[in-house]
């Protein structure tokens, strides 16, 4: 039931203008546009993962090789990343993930609540700074800030796309 809106294409353009060339992902409806555009773009690698922690380790390898990458996941995937974030923290690798949030505004599936509610605190505990987009006008400025913080200031950044922005799934 995802409605494609302009901010999703704008987000892809911002990432590409910053020369992000590797998009790794565990799929989520909220990431549909980014995933499809990266798959269709011959200038980038779109890498589907079996679990989100693979994308954390992939990001470190991409940086060793001089290429910018982004990891796309939903909030339930945050929990799968925890110890692998040691690699990012200990090596001070630049790291950018875009997290579509579940378990918050209007969530109707209780299974999504624990990890969705816990995602920001656990990311911060492992040294990943969270930026949050609550409305369509927040997305591009937050993405630009996240890109600068990650790749210029060598920070680990999670851009959280809130459930209020994405719309709660009906159950």
């Amino acid at each position: 039931m995802s409605v494609q809106t302009a901010w999703q294409d704008d987000l892809y353009e911002v990432l590409r203008k910053s020369n992000v060339k590797i998009f790794s992902y565990v799929p989520d409806g909220g990431h549909k546009t980014l995933i499809n555009r990266s798959l269709a773009d011959p200038a980038v690698e779109a890498i589907t993962l079996t679990t989100e922690q693979e994308g954390v380790a992939l990001a470190a390898g991409a940086h060793l090789g001089g290429v910018k990458s982004v990891l796309l996941m939903q909030s339930s995937g945050v929990g799968n990343c925890m110890n692998m974030l040691s690699l990012i923290s200990n090596g001070q690798f630049p790291f950018l993930t875009i997290v579509t949030m579940r378990g918050e505004f209007g969530e109707g599936n209780a299974w999504q609540v624990p990890m969705g509610q816990g995602a920001p605190a656990t990311l911060e505990a492992m040294g990943v700074k969270c930026l949050r987009a609550d409305g369509p006008n927040d997305v591009v400025p937050c993405a630009s800030a996240a890109l600068t913080m990650a790749f210029q200031s060598r920070m680990a950044i999670a851009l959280l796309l809130s459930q209020r922005l994405l719309g709660a799934k009906a159950f």
Binding site: N19, A60, L64, G66, M84
Partner: protein, 203 residues
Amino acid sequence: MNKQIKPEAVLDRREAIPHIVGDHKDFLIVCGLAGTAQDIADLTKESANSFIFGGAMGGALMTGFGLALAQPNRQVLVAAGDGDVLMSLGSLATIGAHAPKNLAILCVDNELYGETGNQRTHTGMGVDLRAIAEGSGIKCAMEIRHASQFGEAARALRGVGPVFVLVKVDGGPSRRHPRSWDAVDRKLIFRRALLGDNPPDGK
């Protein structure tokens, strides 16, 4: 594979790994933690073409894959122990699915968790990592149990990827080298050697 070789024959890692890897400068190397880290640190003397984990178990395969994507004209070698690979079986599937031509994996399998008191791993209980790699879509997947296979393994690591070479070793010790535990320093050394002073993704 030579049919006269008894399947139970296993190798001394201190001899097998240098023979199989050969000239390490042929590769960009990502190495997982524990005994394999010691083997590779000794072989390379931690040269600038190597990045060696000291934690984040299960990450070496995907870090090697990320490096292979970023450096398509270089051959990337991932070395990792059986415990490390068992913790990242999904990464074999990811690598098999995307089939990077410039990625080779050397799995040093002693069937033990050597850092924590030599507890038996799944590979000592019937789990076949070579078969899992093959079943994950890594078509070139071989098991090395005898010195007569070293040449075949060395060629495979330099061939078209993805490649998975499992070397069965006994429970004996690794070679030792006083390795660095400073991942920031190692990252900067690696990048500067590979990318120069002005890398495309910033200094």
